[in-house]
Each structure stands twice: as C-alpha cells, then as structure tokens.
Symmetry: none
Subunit: 185 residues, 4 copies
C-alpha cells in the first residue's frame, strides 16, 4: 500500500472550509493544495475537476450536518428548547468560524445563476435543516405553524450570520439564536 498523506474525507473538509471562507471562485487549485499539503496535480486522483471537489464537499457537508447537527433535533428525551439551543449553537459556531459565514449561503450567492448544478445539494441541506427545526417546533406548536416558524428561524439566522460577517460582530447571530429558542416556549 502506498503512502497516504491525507484521506479523501480530510481533503474535502479542508477544501470546503476554504470555499466557505474565501469563496469558490477565489480559491485556486494551488490554494487547495497548500491547505491540504499536497501538489495540485494530486487532487486529480481523488476528483475529476474543481467543481467535483465542491460537489463532493457539499455531499460531505450534507451528511455531516445530518449526522452530527440536525440529529440533535430528533433526540426526544431532551426538552425542545434545549435541543433548539444546542442544535443552533453548534450550527452557528460552524458558520462563524473564521468569519467565513454560511457555506450554503455563500455557495448559493456565487453559483446559483451561473452554475446551477449545485442547487439540488444546497436545497437538500436547507431542506434537512428545515425538517429538523420543524420537528423540534412541533413539540409545542401546531404542525403548520411549526413549519412556518422553521423557515423564519432559518431566515433570521442566515441574515444574522450575514450581518455578523459584515460588521465582524457575533451579537447579531447570538440574538437570533436566542429568539429562535424562544419560539419553543
């Protein structure tokens, strides 16, 4: 077996993080190589092209959120407001890391009109977030209202993260999380 400096999963994690913080188009293959400690030619053993790195990165992100973030919503042993608080805290901690913002929002901004191939995955991540929020809110709200509030929470958080980046001030996001938790009472 040949040497393996870094796994495919680690590569994707590092690349996605770079895309999130610096943008997809502003990130060159050399940047990715540097971040991963590889030569840029080496990427093409793992991925066909740069687009595929983003695509696979979004798949990994979707699965990571499903398995480690959104799953919190479905632990019915914990109080709804606790689940909401815990889930959103984990989520926004990732978004605010390195003042990079939300991966879905940033990739959407960059690609939706010119490279719509990423749209299904971006929507899927959003859908799952919405489903998780709705599940929590149904503990204390009628089903339809829960769905509607879930969308409002997502908007509030996304807008808050955007303002937190722009003003380098996490307060916007912190308060948005608090407002969101308050919907559970």
């Amino acid at each position: 077996m040949p040497i393996q400096k870094i796994t495919r999963e680690e590569i994707l994690t590092k690349c996605v993080e770079r895309f999130r913080t610096h943008g997809f188009h502003r990130t060159t293959m050399n940047d990715l190589a540097e971040v991963c400690g590889l030569q840029k030619g080496s990427f093409y053993h793992y991925f066909r092209c740069k687009d595929e790195i983003l695509h696979e990165g979004l798949v990994q992100t979707r699965d990571f959120f499903a398995d480690h973030i959104f799953t919190i919503a479905y632990d019915n042993d914990i109080l709804p407001q606790e689940r909401m608080k815990s889930m959103l805290a984990s989520h926004v901690a990732i978004m605010l890391r390195g003042n990079g913002g939300c991966l879905v929002a940033n990739v959407s901004a960059e690609t939706l009109n010119s490279t719509p191939e990423f749209m299904p995955l971006l929507r899927e991540i959003s859908d799952r977030w919405h489903a998780a929020l709705t599940h929590i809110l149904r503990s204390c709200r009628p089903s339809e209202e829960a769905e509607s509030i879930a969308w409002r929470i997502m908007q509030d958080i996304e807008g808050a993260v955007m303002l937190s980046r722009l003003y380098a001030n996490e307060q916007f996001t912190t308060e948005a999380v608090e407002r969101s938790v308050a919907y559970c009472t």
Copy 2:
C-alpha cells in the same frame, strides 16, 4: 466629437447588475464589455481596473439607494406603515430582479475575507438602510427598540431573499416584507 454611446453611470449600472446576478469573480471584463456594448479596452478610459468598477458601482448603488429608496423613509407626510411597505417593496423588487439576490450580501460573500477593501462601502449601504428603517420605526417605538427591530427586519429580509433565490420562490420575501410592515402598528 464622437458619439457617446453610453455614460459612465449607465456603464456602472449595467456592471453592478451583472456582478449582482453572476458574481464579481465569475464576471469577466469581456462579459462587462458585452453587457455595455463596448470593447473591453474602452473600460480602462473610465476605470483603472476591475476592482474600481465594483468600487464605483457600490458608490453609485449607495447613492441610488440613499436618493431613491431610503429617502422614502423620511417622508413624514406618509403613514409609517405605508413608508415601510413602499420602501421595502422597492428594495426587494431590485433584489429579486433576475433572481440575482442582494448585491451587498453577494459581494460580501465573495469579498469579505479575501478583498476587504469593499467592506466600508458595503457597511455604509447597510448602515443607511438601518438608519432609514429606524427612522420609520421611531414613529411608533421607543428609540432603542426601533434600532433593534430595524436590524431584525434587515436580517429577515436578507435571509428571505437568500431563500427566495435558493428555492426560486418569492413567497419568502413577500412574507418577510409583510412581517416588517406589521412592526409599524
């Protein structure tokens, strides 16, 4: 005297629109030339570089919003909720055009971490939006609460526009505007 095919202002308007819908880095000088009906060499009589086009475009946008959108907020002859409704309707109409999203949000997503030179202008546009909203809200709210709600409205709208793009559904934004108007009663 040669014909003036297009004014500097018209060039900026068309370029900003392209940046908003397709992203700054995804837009080439050739794209801008095509959009403006010019040869790309001609741009360098108006602007030093591509960055300057974005910079001047943001200045123009800032002034346009100050003069034509945010000014609505300060017309004290009109009911607050009418001003809110009118201002936000005009604003989101621009954002949703061509499913392009919010210029400030999109440019922020693309440039904040790698080219922070545009941050002051992006903040300035946001600040003026916040000031306009606050002014309206002060008609019916204590000053501090007005400021706070203004931020919340901005987040709600920004998040709604992002979801409207992602799901190609203006409903998110329409409802966010309605919620915002409701704060005035």
Copy 3:
C-alpha cells in the same frame, strides 16, 4: 487601429507547417507561439482552441491547393503530361519541404481514430486532388480508367513520400512523379 504583428493567414500558414513537420500532438501552443513570434495567449484572439487552428489550417490548405496547385490541371492550353508534371512537381515540393511529408497523410495518421472531426476536410483535399488528376488523365484515357489511374497515382505518391521521409531520400518521390507523368502518353 492597433498594431498587427502577423495576419491570421500567416499564422495559419506557419502553424500548418509546424503540424506537418512535427505532428499535431507533438506541437504545443508554445511551439506555435514561437513559430509565429507571438505569446501563446495571443492565439486565442484568432482561434478558440488548438483544434480550431488545425481545422482552419486545413481549410486554408484546401483552398491554397485548389487555387494554386490543382488549378494547373484545368489549364487545357497546356499538354496533359506538362500539366501532370507541373502539378505534381509543385505538390511534392511542398510535401518534401523540411522532410515533413504529406499534411493530409500525417494528420490522418494522428487523428482519424481519435479525433474524426478533421476527416471531412482531409477527404475534401484528397477528393480535389483526385478530381484534378482525373481531369488531366481524361485527355488521353477513357473516363473510368482515368479515375482509376488517378487513385493509383495518389497512392504511389503518398507511399513514395512516406518512404522518402523514412529513408531521407527524395528518389522515391521523384520516380513516382515520373511514373505518373508517363500515364499521360
């Protein structure tokens, strides 16, 4: 009007000559740039891609042969054997130049199975050569025999040029031309 170092026609002539002598795939854009006295990026003002350079080069070659070589065949004021001699002499002089061989044969060898898009043009050049030869031979042969002999002459010349390259000996080609002229008596 900006400076123009070299015309599109001159570029094509030089590039085709390089392709003929060194092969299409062995010729890099840098090689072409050097041959033309340009930077490689400059080619993309004239041509979309390397394949297009070959394609346009084949078009130019087809037209050049039609206008300057094969046209000799149709000058009915000259004796058939004189026309044959003159036409083939001009033709093989081009093929043997720089020991490069026949452009059609070389490009065929390189591209026919992997990039068949050039086949129509290669056939067209061959067809016109065949038509020219047939026209001369019809002066002294029945029509069907003329056609058949025209193909045989083409094979003889092509095979001779191939051997002349391989053995660096023009004798093969010289004799093939002589044999071809002899068909006119």
Copy 4:
C-alpha cells in the same frame, strides 16, 4: 509466487496495437494500463519509460513480421504469386485491423522529425519487407528490376492503406494487393 497476469510479450502486443490505432502521443500511460489490465505504475517494472515501450514494441513487431509474415516469401516450394498473395494478404489484414493503418507509417509520421530515435527500427522493418518482396520477385524478374518493383509495391500498399483509412474503404488496399500479385507473372 504471485500470479503473472500478463506477459511482457502480451503487454507489448497490446500497447503496439494501441499506438497503431490511436497514435503514440495520443496514447497515455493510463490508456496502456487499461488496455493491459494493469496499474500504470506496474509498467515501470517492465519498461523504463513510455519511449521504451514503443521501442520494444517495434522490436517485437520487427521480429513478428520476420518470423510470421516475411518468412512466407522464402518458402520456395510455393509458387511466387501464391507467396506474394499470401504474404501481402496477411500483412494488410494486420494494417487494416481496426482501421488503424500501418504501424510503421503512423509512427514515422509522428516521430521522424521530433524523435528520430525510432528511425532505425522503422527502417529495419521496411528493409525486411523490401527484402522479402524482392526475394519473391527474383523468381520471375531480373534482380535489379525485382528490387525496384519491390519498392513500388511497398509504396502502392502504403498509399492504399492510407486511402483505405481516410475513406474507410478497403477496396484501395485489395486492388493494390492484386496489382502486386500480378507482378509475379
């Protein structure tokens, strides 16, 4: 002892076939690996570099032709025209396989001016073909004429194979073989 999936000879046979049909420069080490059912790293246990694969492939081809094709010429128990017919039929069957053309002609076209190291082997294969043809023709022709006709047959066949590829029509080659056999009577 590990299984020997494929012998060196089989590798060379498959690689040469690929070079003949798709060209040397258009064939990547990955293509060769796929064709041979090996990993590309494994090639470097058999051969130092890609050039050596072609070189050894030409050696193998030279020996194969000497042992299985040209040897037909020297079986003096058979009528000359039968030997000619049999030898050329076997030869052109190989050339026309997969519409790939003549290995010697194709490799010559690709390498003669830029990588002359293969020229000796290409000439050697041609020389042996010429010797075989000459041997047959000496049965019914003076020695010098036999040599001369042998070259003419080679040219005719090479030209015919080239046209057969270009027009996807084996008729050119079939008739060239018939003409060649006719020299024996």
